[in-house]
Amino acid sequence: MKRVRNILMIVVVLIVAYWLFTKYKALPSVGSLFKPKPVTIENTPVVIKQIQAIAQLVTISAYEEMVADTTVADTKTIDIPLLPAIELPASTRKLVIIGKSTTNVGIDMQQLRDTDISGTKDSIHIILPAAQILDVIVNPSDVEVFIEVGAWDNTAVANLKNKIRYLAISDAMSRGLLAQSEKKAVDVLTSFFKAAGYQKVIIQFRGNAIKME
């Protein structure tokens, strides 16, 4: 009986000692001992491939969250000479990603020709190119792989990200973001030229009616 009590005492002391050590970070916890170390990338340099002068007036940025998925059933057939092919049951691979997209809509001001701007001392008339979708961004930090069953290569992930980008474009079109972008461009440029001293600013879009005076 006394022996059992001594053993119990030693066990209790060991547990308390271990608890105290882990509490004050003298020893790693069991959980952290078996926790896989995160894989970190090396700090490699970046190479500048191209520098380009642009003139894009971004007037609308839409942020969306979408889900894209793909499922592939891999079937295997065994061909035995003189016998019909045997088809083995299919194994299904599934990949589901949740992606946040940023759609930038605006005017490509580089398409503005010299003849598109005219004016007098206090009034100005500008014909802008129509609004367009300038970027749809789905970056790696915006993507969460929600379900991954089976092996998937980089092309499959890229295809799903592109699916999200196409969905974002069609969503921007259906929500009338091009029209909203043109309206905002008129506001921004009118404020700019009025601040520059023009009393009257007329902005028109190519092939469209006059938007504002």
């Binding site: 490699t44 380009q52 942020y63 998937w152 499959a156 921004v188 520059a196 001293g197």
Partner: protein
């Protein structure tokens, strides 16, 4: 009877609530109106190198080498420009004070990410899609940290000066001076 009627009414209202939730646009998070004039775009490439050999109980290691392209855009926010930013002297001289350039976006196009090489130990699993995305997110973070040191803001300001000068000369100002706050 009364209790049954109340229960039925509650059930009907709950069903209506569910129907409403289904009608909500689930994807859109926000639409922001801006007035950003992007004037410089940098295209960068980066090699992403990682070794998974730090976990003591995993036998064998895994190595991956990827490369990606990133597009960075920077420019000036025209919404910060007001009447106070312009100084007109006579009919042909104007001075514009612009706000400093900002980094507007970093985009890593999905088609510009490639896995160049993988070395997987016999007892290890290949890198999953989720793991590759985590490594790419780290690369994106490194690019974001480096971005301003690449001179993109200076280039954006130089291009903004050229563009604004050209724009105001087109509307009749002979001498346009552009400075930054």
């Amino acid at each position: 009877m009364l209790i049954l009627l109340i229960a039925l009414l509650l059930f009907a209202s709950a069903c209506r609530q569910k129907e409403k939730e289904r009608d909500l646009p689930a994807t859109i998070l926000a639409i922001q109106q801006t007035g950003k004039l992007a004037t410089a775009e940098y295209t960068l490439t980066k090699i992403i190198r990682a070794s998974d050999d730090q976990t003591w109980y995993k036998i064998g290691d895994r190595k991956i080498l990827m490369h990606c392209e990133a597009h960075l855009k920077a420019g000036i926010d025209l919404q910060q420009v007001s009447r106070n930013n312009f100084e007109v002297e006579g009919d042909s001289l104007i001075t514009v004070t612009l706000p400093h350039a900002q980094l507007f976006s970093i985009a890593i196009p999905p088609n510009k990410i490639q896995v160049a090489y993988q070395d997987i130990g016999l007892l290890r699993d290949p890198f999953s899609a989720a793991e590759r995305e985590q490594l790419l997110a780290q690369a994106e973070q490194q690019i974001r940290k480096l971005a301003t040191s690449l001179g993109i803001l200076q280039t954006a300001e130089t291009n903004a000066v050229t563009y604004i000068q050209h724009l105001l000369q087109q509307v009749g100002y002979k001498h346009v001076s552009v400075i930054f706050e």
